[in-house]
Structure formats: structure tokens, C-alpha cells
Amino acid sequence: MATKTITKSIPRAARVAAPAPLPAVRLTVNKAYKMYVGGAFVRSESGRYLQVTASSSGGADPAIVNVPRGSRKDVRDAVLVAKNASEGWAARTPFNKSQILYRLAEMMESRRSELVTSLLRGGTAAAEREVDASIDRVVFYAGFADKFHALVASSNPVAGPHFGFSVPEPMGVVCVIAPARPSLLGLVSTVLPLIASGNTCVAVCGMDDPRTPLLWCEQLATSDLPGGVVNVLSGHASELAPIMARHREVMAMDVWGVDKALAAEVEQLGTDNVKRVKVHGPQADWYDERKAQGLGFIERFLETKTIWHPVGI
């Protein structure tokens, strides 16, 4: 009875046909670029951002994009997780490391078009070339991860009743200031040789186009690489490099393309814990497979353990 009464009381005007539907408009869904620390995607603890230009070759980003501006505390957090990940990563067998790095190449291959679209400069052909070179570089170091030992280890002739062996070991936490350009290939080429040998790293990505390195972190996250092995921060090298250089938990630094004053500061601060600091000028050609990849990149951040073993007694 009650229902009937209510139906009758609705005014005639309210029962006219619904208006024609509005044309379908989707809300824009923009990506919040984040840094990659300990296997998680994080904003800067400081809340600061830098504005960078998005790709002109397509993609969903607006013209100006915010990326986090890493702080002193972000460096500290990243070094801590890298240190905690260090023992476990170093303990994995070289073959297992090799498999995981190859898995990273698989992840990059399946999201190749996304990387190509994301890269800022040079048009599609150049972007494709950079992404292909990056994937190939990952495959190169995946293959090298269980082979370089044979090239750098030695059995040493010694004057006595002993065998002498020298075997390579990772150093621990290594910090990287990646080259500004090429943003993806530069980061891949500097980080991969470090982790292939069992180091863990905290990298500041090149800031000419930081979006693509941060996008690459999403592939790191799905590659079976344990959290904390690679940590990527975005921000000013001039602000973050000295903090890394002073940090006593950091065993070495690989610094690319900074000015002379900053290079000198980093080298000087690194003396506190006798850090191995490698400062490089601009690399001529990151695409040159003879110069931009190889054993030298791995060997730079290895320690050598020599064991004397008695023999003949």
C-alpha cells in the first residue's frame, strides 16, 4: 500500500525521459614517478620535486612531469637497504645471478615499446637504438656473471711449500652517479657490471631525462632481483654525491660526468674510509661495445682475496 502511495506522489516532470548521455570523457591518469629503494617505489622523504620535460614522441605524460628530488635522508635509507641486501646477494651463486639478470632482459624486452616511447630525445629510431643497446647490455652482463671469475682469479706461483689462490669478491655497497645521457643506456651500463659481480648499489640516475630510468625500475622490480640490490634515486648529483662520499658504509663510488669541483670534493670526502672513488670524464660512445662494456667495468669494483694453502707436507 505504502509503495503505491509514493509512486503516485512523484510529480509528472520527474518522470520524463533521462537527458541524452554526455559524450564519454575519461579522466587523465598520470603516472607519479617515484624512486626505487629497497624494492619499493618511494617519494622523497623530503617531499621535494624537480620538474622535467616529458617525451615529445608520445606516451601518457603531460608536458611537464614531477620527479622526486632525493635528499640526504633518502641516500641514508637507500645505503642501509643496500647494505642489508649485500650479504644475501653476494652469497647467491654466480649462475643464479646470471639467471636473474637475464630475467631482467626478458622484462625489458616485453616492455620495449614502453621504454622507446618514454625516452625523450632523438626521435623513435634513436630511442629504439638506445633501448635495444640497453637490453643487449643486460644480456651481456647476465652472461658474464658466472664467467668473469675465471678471467680475474689466479693461482699464484709462490716461493714455498704453498699454493696461492687469488679469488674476486664483491666490495659491498657501491654508489653510482650515472651519466646524464644516454639516460637509460648510461644507467644500465654502469649498474649492471656492479651487481653482476655481487655488489649492491645506490645510483643517482642521469637527470637530463630521469623518467625513463625510473620507468626501468619497474622492470627491476619484476625481474626476480631481490629488493635493495639496485636502488635508484633522482635528484641533483651535486647534492647527493658528497653525502654518498662521506658515508662510511659505502665502499666505492663510480662517478660519471660531473664537473671538476664536485669530482675533487667527492674524492676528498671519500678518503675518510679509504673509499675507492672512480671519477670519469664523458664516455665517448656508450653504444660502442668494445669500449662501453666488458671485464674492465666489472673488475673496477672487486676485491681480491688471496689464500695460501700448504702443500707437500
Partner: protein, 329 residues
């Protein structure tokens, strides 16, 4: 809507107390307070919000250094493992005396905490210092042994020279509502301690809710505990800021009612200098400066000391430190 379910009132039978008195030769026959309606319920959301707010306080520079040094002076440096050896205990005692060899300005810790077998050795190592030796007892960590064995455990530890006894309550009895039994055991252990200070471990990780923690705190305090302590360190979760706040509130209420000051010891899971400062803030805001002393507040800690030392060195040198540069306990 708040529903208060009345719990079964189980008064401590006098028979039990008489038995205790027989066993301990001279325990006073004190009827335990009726804890059932007396304990206030705890507002879980409010407690957690409160400690979260206190965690946001930022201590920098001089006040941070002062806080960290205070934290060292309040530490019970602890090793409670089946694999403990004389070497381990000696090394820990050395660290208790000289937390950082390169910095003699740092305070010594308040106490070392060991199993009864290591009390004598610890006493020898710390002879001449003000550092106390605490021993766990009463069938630590489960407490699931007959009372005479627990009391024997306590008496032996005291005989070996322990200055402080860390006892565990019977959580099974607590959870099944046998509050009288819990009270009686604590009272009997207190009597067995003699001059040694008694810390009552509630093992809050097994108690289930803040209401039970509050009730257990009141029982521990009323039965004569000099300190109440969160955890054995063998159960996760161990000490949390929220559970510590609940226990501190019980201490505060007891102080207001009777004027007696009971100490507090969070233990287990406190690993970083930042956490330690957070606990000090909670103590200060709940009980005031009077409790910011090793006599009334302690940290049970094994790995905390190194992190505090690292942060102190960082304040001194300006550089973040490496864990490799500090001796592992």
C-alpha cells in the same frame, strides 16, 4: 556501542597463599586485590594515535646526543641464547664497561642481563663497577614449570650474585583468568628475591589485547614488582610503543594512588637509536622527568647499543657510520 562482558571472578584461594607461605617460609598472607572489575579498559585507537603522535617529535643535535647518552645509561645489555659461552659473556661485559673504546666520555650501561649460569662470571667481569647483573629466572622464557622450581631458580640466581631478577609471569594462568595465581607467584618470587630487584616480564606479545596488558601490569605492580617489563625477546611482537604506553599508564595510576614508583623496561625489538628516543619521549610525556633515570627506566637490548653508538659517532664526525666499524656483540 561499548559492550562490557563481565569476566568470571576468580578470587585467589587462601589455600594457595598458605601453600606459598609454607614453601617460602615467611611470605605474608596478603589477599590480592580484586582485579576483575578494577582494571580500566584501554582505548586501543587512542593509545596507538598517542604513541604515533609522540613518534613525530624531532630531537636534533645536542638534545639528541643527550638522549642517546641517557639511553646508553639505561640499557640492560642482554644475551639470552642457548649458544652463550664464557667468551660471549666476557665480551659483552667489556662492552658494558666501555661501550666505545675510542670515546671514554660515554656512560656505562645500567646492567647486563644473562642466564643464571653466567651470573658469577658476569659479576667477576664487572667487579668494581656500578653495573648491575640481572638474571632471568622462573623457567624463562615460558614460565611453564612448577612454582617450587621457579623459586629455586630465583634463589640460586640470587645466590650466584644477581642484583636483579627478571621473572616471567604464567601467561596461561593470566589468559585463563586465574589472576590470583599470577599474583601469588609474583609475590612468592618477590619474597625469594630478597634484596634483589624484581622485574616482572608480562610477555605482552602473548597477552592478546591492551586490556589484558593493563590488568597484568596492575597485578605485577600490586604483587611487589620493582619493574614491569614487556617481553622476553623470544616472542614476536615484543616491545611496542603502544604496549609500553599502556604499562606506563598503569605505573602512573599506581603512583598517583600510592606514591610508590615502579620502573618500566621495554625489551625486544628495540634496535635503532630513533626507536630508543621515541621511548624516552613516551616516558617523559607519561611519567615526567622523574622516570628518566636508570633506576626507573631500562631498555632490554642486544643490538640497540651499536646503533646508538653509530648515531653518536655520526653526530660527532658528521659522517654516517659503517656497521663494520663497531664490535658485534
Amino acid at each position: 556501542m561499548l559492550v562490557i562482558v563481565a569476566e568470571p571472578v576468580i578470587l585467589s584461594p587462601i589455600v594457595t597463599l598458605a601453600t606459598v607461605a609454607d614453601q617460602t617460609s615467611g611470605a605474608r598472607l596478603v589477599a590480592p586485590p580484586n582485579f576483575n572489575p578494577a582494571s580500566p579498559t584501554v582505548d586501543q585507537v587512542a593509545v596507538e594515535e598517542r604513541v604515533a603522535a609522540l613518534a613525530k617529535r624531532s630531537l636534533k643535535k645536542a638534545s639528541k646526543v643527550a638522549g642517546l647518552k641517557l639511553a646508553i645509561s639505561m640499557m640492560d645489555l642482554t644475551t639470552l641464547e642457548g649458544k652463550d659461552t664464557a667468551g660471549k659473556v666476557r665480551a659483552m661485559c667489556q662492552k658494558a664497561l666501555y661501550p666505545l673504546g675510542s670515546d671514554p666520555s660515554l656512560p656505562q650501561v645500567a646492567a647486563v642481563c644473562v642466564y643464571p649460569n653466567w651470573v658469577r662470571l658476569a659479576k667477576q667481569c664487572l667487579a668494581g663497577s656500578n653495573i648491575k647483573v640481572a638474571s632471568v629466572a622462573t623457567a624463562f622464557p615460558s614460565g611453564q614449570s612448577p612454582l617450587p622450581i621457579k623459586l629455586d631458580d630465583v634463589r640460586r640466581a640470587v645466590e650466584f650474585g644477581a642484583d636483579e631478577i627478571d621473572m616471567v609471569i604464567d601467561r596461561g594462568a593470566m589468559l585463563s583468568g586465574q589472576y590470583g595465581k599470577v599474583f601469588d607467584e609474583i609475590a612468592a618470587v618477590k619474597e625469594a628475591c630478597g634484596a634483589a630487584h624484581l622485574k616482572v616480564i608480562l610477555e605482552t606479545g602473548e597477552l592478546g589485547s591492551y586490556d589484558v596488558v593493563r590488568k597484568a601490569s596492575e597485578i605485577g605492580i600490586a604483587a611487589g614488582g620493582d619493574f614491569i617489563k614487556t617481553s622476553t625477546g623470544k616472542v614476536v611482537p615484543a616491545a611496542t610503543p603502544a604496549v609500553t604506553l599502556v604499562m606506563l599508564q598503569a605505573i602512573a595510576d599506581h603512583y598517583r594512588a600510592t606514591g610508590r614508583k615502579v620502573g618500566m623496561k621495554p625489551a625486544g625489538g628495540i634496535r635503532t637509536a630513533k626507536q630508543a628516543l621515541h621511548y624516552l619521549v613516551i616516558v617523559k610525556e607519561t611519567l615526567g622527568d622523574a622516570w628518566l633515570t636508570p633506576d626507573l627506566f631500562r631498555f632490554g637490548a642486544s643490538t640497540l647499543l651499536n646503533d646508538v653508538l653509530m648515531q653518536l659517532q655520526k653526530e660527532k664526525t658528521g659522517n654516517y657510520q659503517s656497521s663494520e666499524d663497531f664490535s658485534k656483540d
